[in-house]
Symmetry: C2
Subunit: 210 residues, 2 copies
């Protein structure tokens, strides 16, 4: 029988990796802009055929995302490992923060990636599909905690609300150079806990509460 340990796999070895291609693409997108970079450009810059690139990534829009599925798996298992004494919102808030933690040397890359994802229209659109997967992770956890169906209205709203808070924090993060993403996330998530109770948001305009 065959050994499936490190090198000795069956067929031909892959020429590159998803991560490598993602980096090459990201560099080109920053140099020339997303729309003015063709898939051919990326493929030849990476030294592979165009047809091969489409086996690593299903679309040009997926290139900036890298291996997002793996990140989702991480988040799902983090949530699964959360102690059940932690409240639902706290559990999700911790998971969101954990999901967006990365080594400081990665910051410039991550910043540029998110800059593209939140500003290039084609990517903003495509990201909706990724966000939907992310929301599903959140909704699934919430549904389990609330003991209701995943497609009930509460878990769905919770998914949206946490997504919105995360992206609001990201937009804020990108707007200023020296801001701390984690702190911004925490403050956005805090808004969710405090916001929609009888605080300032629920009061009327000038004189509404006076």
């Amino acid at each position: 029988m065959n050994e499936c340990s490190v090198a000795p796999r069956m067929g031909r070895q892959p020429l590159t990796t998803r991560a490598a291609l993602s980096h090459v693409a990201l560099r080109l997108f920053l140099e020339r802009g997303f729309e003015r970079t063709t898939v051919d450009d990326i493929a030849s810059a990476a030294g592979i055929g165009r047809r091969t690139l489409f086996r690593y990534f299903p679309s040009k829009n997926d290139l900036p995302w890298g291996d997002f599925d793996a990140e989702l798996v991480r988040m799902r298992s983090f949530l699964a490992a959360t102690d059940t004494t932690v409240s639902l919102v706290d559990a999700l808030a911790q998971a969101v923060v954990e999901f967006n933690r990365f080594p400081p040397e990665e910051a410039p890359f991550h910043r540029e990636r998110m800059n593209l994802l939140l500003n290039v229209p084609a990517l903003v659109a495509h990201s909706a599909l990724r966000y939907a997967e992310w929301r599903l992770v959140v909704s699934n956890f919430a549904a389990g905690r609330l003991r209701v169906a995943v497609d009930a209205i509460e878990p769905t709203v919770i998914g949206w609300v946490f997504l919105g808070a995360s992206l609001a924090a990201y937009e804020q993060w990108l707007r200023t150079d020296d801001s701390n993403l984690i702190e911004l996330l925490e403050s956005a998530l805090l808004l969710l806990k405090e916001g929609f109770a009888p605080g300032e948001l629920a009061t009327g305009g000038p004189g509404g509460r006076a």
Copy 2:
């Protein structure tokens, strides 16, 4: 001087309207599916050239939306006309409900349109751009009420949160045949007001509050 009243405009009269094209496209999408309907199909079904269709709508993805910009203008002016004694969340909740009110005979069309927009991947993606415009209307109003910048974190989160509640209600509406969209919207919006305070959502799992 020229008369700009009803018929006597300057050049050639348009052959059709955005609304008419949107209806033709919607019918074909339901018959054959979105992906299996080409722009040529729609153009010839509408009796115009393919090139002309792209002057009415910038992309195939925009066809189901019809004249969304006009709807946004409606929502913006509804918000502007809201009495300042009404609280921010109530004002937005009323506007959201008003935005989604339509004559009952339109229900089947609207249902099918939303079915496409929320289920066809290409449309789910593209809709993110439309939702962004919608959120901007909400955020702008919230920023004015809270006396902060539009790109501050609070108005952004509020935009997301109301979008999420609306779409959660829509998903629920589509799931069952005889449901009432307005009621679902109201219950989703109620979640926002009650949800993230020390209610059930903030408590721990089994035994967290007992």
